[in-house]
């Protein structure tokens, strides 16, 4: 059918040049807030509040980067055509994992004795002794470094061959990206499970839940899809991607987003249901803490805001490509994801209720890291073509059903009745 794309329906070009200082402002403002918060935290509890807030903010951005990595891997494994235009910035998001998120992880190591009780408790506890090689500071650092090493290898290879493809257009690049996605999906599954268990679940190391890695993964992809959707809308409005984007891209992203809304609720409920049904004190304590004080209300907000509201808003077919519906849902997703991470992380330090006093400190850490990472991301984005230039499927993404060598000389003049 017709390859001509009508862009007249688009609103005027979005001009974000006035916002170009935002990352630096966030970095400086968030940095000051974090330092002040850290000093106060040192005085009051020896740095625990700061350590937990930093870990919380770190995990928040880690989930976005890991989810984007998953989108890139799945793109290659399924030989997808529609997601070619969004692949490049997903690669940039994923490559934040190393070295940038690894650098932001250093304070977590520094504050590990304040955050992870198993580092300071006597080794008499059988649950600590059984995991002894990992549950020591050296073990913690080595295992964490391994995760970052795998992510570095994976993201740098995928991005290297993708950028190489822009230059050569060689079939070898596609084969290489598929090869790295092949072992990558297995390594991704292993490392994301390990990272979620070591960095988040071990905060309450007495607890067991076999589905925790899957639950963490589903939330990673959910929040990455919300982020990717917003970035895609912005790039279309800025007329950067509008030539290669069709309505179908927004629809497909919306379908993914909807699917992972359901999937993350499914994994979370599955975890709750198994604990509830088995009714064993070694498992129920984790949820009992989270039913105490204001944590009860946090869990109620999560059930409604993390699942029911996005589910019903995204349910109609047309809603998935309607920006007026999806963009607010993306904003809600960020808020709910932050609350969900609080729900997972903070009760280990504050079992009595949600620590409202920590909010400025958390916002400071979030703003600092957000400013820093978006600055890195924008630098990466600006120094490379915005979408894969010579991917064999880029025409398919544009909605042109022709072989590359046929294009554009033999494009049917009548709009193509073929």
């Amino acid at each position: 059918m017709s390859s001509h794309k009508d862009t007249t329906h688009l609103p005027p070009k979005l001009d974000l040049s006035g916002w170009s200082r935002l990352p630096s402002v966030l970095m400086v403002g968030g940095g000051i807030l974090s330092v002040v918060g850290a000093l106060i935290s040192f005085k009051h509890d020896g740095g625990t509040a700061f350590g937990f807030s930093w870990l919380f903010a770190f995990i928040f951005y880690l989930t976005i980067a890991l989810g984007s990595l998953f989108l890139v891997i799945v793109h290659h494994l399924t030989d997808a055509g529609w997601s070619v235009p969004i692949r490049r910035f997903c690669e940039h998001l994923a490559s934040l994992l190393f070295p940038w998120l690894a650098i932001l992880f250093l304070p977590v190591i520094l504050f590990a004795p304040k955050i992870f009780t198993w580092l300071t408790l006597p080794a008499a506890d059988e649950l600590i002794r059984a995991r002894a090689p990992v549950f020591t500071l050296a073990g913690f650092v080595i295992v964490s470094a391994t995760f970052f090493g795998v992510w570095w290898l994976l993201t740098s290879r995928l991005r290297y061959w993708s950028l190489r493809q822009d230059v050569t257009g060689d079939a070898l690049c596609v084969q290489k990206m598929r090869f790295h996605s092949g072992w990558g999906i297995l390594a991704f599954a292993a490392t994301i499970t390990g990272a979620s268990v070591l960095w988040v679940k071990s905060l309450q190391y007495q607890w067991f839940s076999a589905i925790y890695g899957v639950y963490f993964f589903s939330d990673c992809t959910w929040i990455a899809l919300a982020t990717v959707y917003v970035i895609t809308v912005i790039l279309q409005r800025q007329r950067i991607l509008d030539g290669v984007l069709h309505d179908s891209q927004f629809y497909f992203l919306g379908v993914w987003f909807f699917a992972f809304t359901v999937f993350s609720a499914y994994t979370e409920f599955a975890q709750y249901f198994v604990v509830w049904n088995a009714n064993m004190p070694t498992e129920t304590f984790w949820y009992l803490i989270r039913e105490r004080g204001s944590w009860w209300w946090v869990s109620m907000i999560l059930i409604v805001g993390h699942f029911f509201v996005p589910f019903f808003l995204l349910l109609p077919v047309k809603a998935k490509s309607n920006f007026k519906i999806v963009l607010p849902v993306c904003a809600l997703a960020w808020l709910m994801h932050a609350l969900d991470l609080s729900f997972n992380i903070l009760p280990a330090a504050r079992p009595d209720g949600y620590p409202l006093k920590w909010i400025p400190l958390q916002l400071g850490c979030l703003a600092f890291m957000g400013g820093f990472l978006s600055w890195v991301f924008l630098k990466k984005f600006a120094s490379h073509p915005p979408y894969p230039q010579r991917d064999p499927r880029v025409l398919e993404a544009m909605g042109i059903g022709l072989e590359p060598e046929e294009y554009p000389d033999t494009l049917p003049a009548n709009g193509g009745d073929r």
Partner: protein, 177 residues
Amino acid sequence: MKHFGIIAEFDSPAAILSAAEKVRDAGYQRWDTFTPFPIHGMEKVMKLGNSLVGWVSLAMGAGAFLSVVGLIWYANAFDYPLIVGGKPMFSPPMTFVPAYIMMIMGGAVGALVGMLGLNQLPRLHHPLFANKNFALASRDKFFLAIGATDPKFSENETRKLLEEIGGVNIELVEDAD
């Protein structure tokens, strides 16, 4: 003799697409196209919205979910209170798995029944089958039929319009019932 409508035959997707545009612009309401494969853009020309099947499916799914929750409450907490594993007589988490599964069942049945109902299927015969060329609609010909129940329908005017827009083998189809 009652009439079902007038049918015309076209040779290519482009021909039927432009024909459909002209029929729409002429103000006809009750007409349809029959093609061997889906034609891009036809749904826009025919102004076809989303199917209502989703709503039937939603209603059946939600109904199944709530009735299973009700059934478990009735059986376990009301009619014959029974303590199982030290759990409460009734608690939402315990109803969720069976209710969820029956919701899928209800949704699927709703989608099937809704689809058949909206398509007015099953039926044994359709007046258009009387047209001897119509079987080619699943091979290489493209058909456009304008129904006799259309407010603008008139045997001569409609036939003339179909001739003007390039239809061949134009036939008045009788309604056998």
